[in-house]
């Protein structure tokens, strides 16, 4: 499987997935009109990795504002990680956000509520 490298735009995050490293990263705002289209390659990649790689998968998230269809798409990705975890796979996630932007922290916490795999939320940066 090839790696993913979707560049960042005004309304969509940078999405990278490395098969060799077993790492998925997402960074930036996500509010495209068609989030399902944007996230489908990632959903396919994660599905394929979890089924065939036989190794751990870590997600490194630095997402900011997400529109509701991006929230849905990200939930689908996290649900796949949860499914792998329940099935004995090694998966983990870390979501870093600027502590000044508390809404991002709240959003991350809400995602975490539905995940039982290791999910770390890290507040960073310039505290105001």
């Amino acid at each position: 499987m090839t790696d993913l490298n979707i560049p960042q735009s005004n309304s969509s995050p940078a999405i990278r997935a490395s098969w060799a490293d077993g790492v998925v990263t997402m960074k930036g705002d996500s509010y495209p009109e068609n989030s399902f289209e944007l996230f489908q390659p990632l959903i396919d990649w994660v599905d394929s990795y979890l089924k065939t790689a036989g190794r751990a998968l870590h997600s490194e998230l630095e997402l900011l504002y997400l529109n509701t269809s991006s929230i849905r798409a990200l939930m689908d990705v996290l649900d796949m990680l949860e499914g792998a975890h329940v099935g004995g796979g090694r998966v983990s996630a870390r979501w870093s956000y600027d502590s000044a932007n508390e809404r991002v922290g709240d959003l991350a916490e809400e995602f975490k509520e539905d995940c039982t795999f290791p999910f770390e939320i890290v507040a960073t940066g310039d505290r105001r």
Binding site: Y31, E33, Y65, N67, T68, S69, I71, R72, E102, R103
Partner: protein, 182 residues
């Protein structure tokens, strides 16, 4: 200078904007690019006013959900031949941010949307969160390109129940507007 009584008095319009504390107003055909550009301007404007990051995020979020809902609706009803939207972001007397957006809809669609908004208005914040999580897990096959989360999300962020207004235009079309107070 010649005065045309029928012409629009821009100064009077400006007075209305000032009185109503309107920060942003848009009326006309809306594209994905315009939504992004206006959204960026709105964020920058609020940041320049040193609004809290939470307020900026909430207003931006409601603005995006509303305008993307309008675009999606217009695309699903191509016979309306209208991708126009009217959007106002302002502050009320108490200093709360208010986002109002409206568009032309078929009467039946407007009534269905109003019924959903009325149903959401009766829910507590906890019930809205539960409704959001239920909708989040709806199978993709049940969704028609939309996650169906926008209204619930706006209701969760709002400080008052969402309010809508339907004004009849002709036999089958109405102007539908939604007001969200943050």
């Amino acid at each position: 200078m010649e005065q045309d009584d029928a012409s629009l008095d821009l100064y009077a319009l400006r007075e209305v904007f000032d009185r109503e504390r309107i920060m942003l107003c848009f009326n006309g055909p809306i594209t994905a690019t315009l939504i992004e550009e206006i959204g960026k301007a709105l964020r920058r404007h609020m940041e320049a006013l040193e609004e809290s990051p939470g307020s900026v995020a909430d207003v931006f979020s409601v603005y995006i959900e509303m305008t993307q809902n309008i675009r999606r609706y217009a695309q699903s009803r191509s016979s309306l031949d209208l991708e126009s939207a009217s959007i106002i972001v302002s502050r009320d007397d108490a200093g709360r941010h208010v986002v109002v957006a409206g568009n032309v809809v078929y009467e039946g669609d407007g009534d269905a949307l109003a019924a959903r908004i009325t149903a959401l208005a009766g829910l507590s914040k906890e019930e809205l969160k539960a409704a959001f999580k239920t909708q989040l897990r709806q199978p993709r096959t049940e969704l028609s390109g939309s996650a169906g989360l926008g209204l619930i999300d706006m209701a969760r962020k709002a400080s008052q129940p969402l309010r809508c207004k339907i004004q009849s235009l002709d036999d089958d079309r109405s102007f539908f507007s939604l007001r969200v107070v943050l």
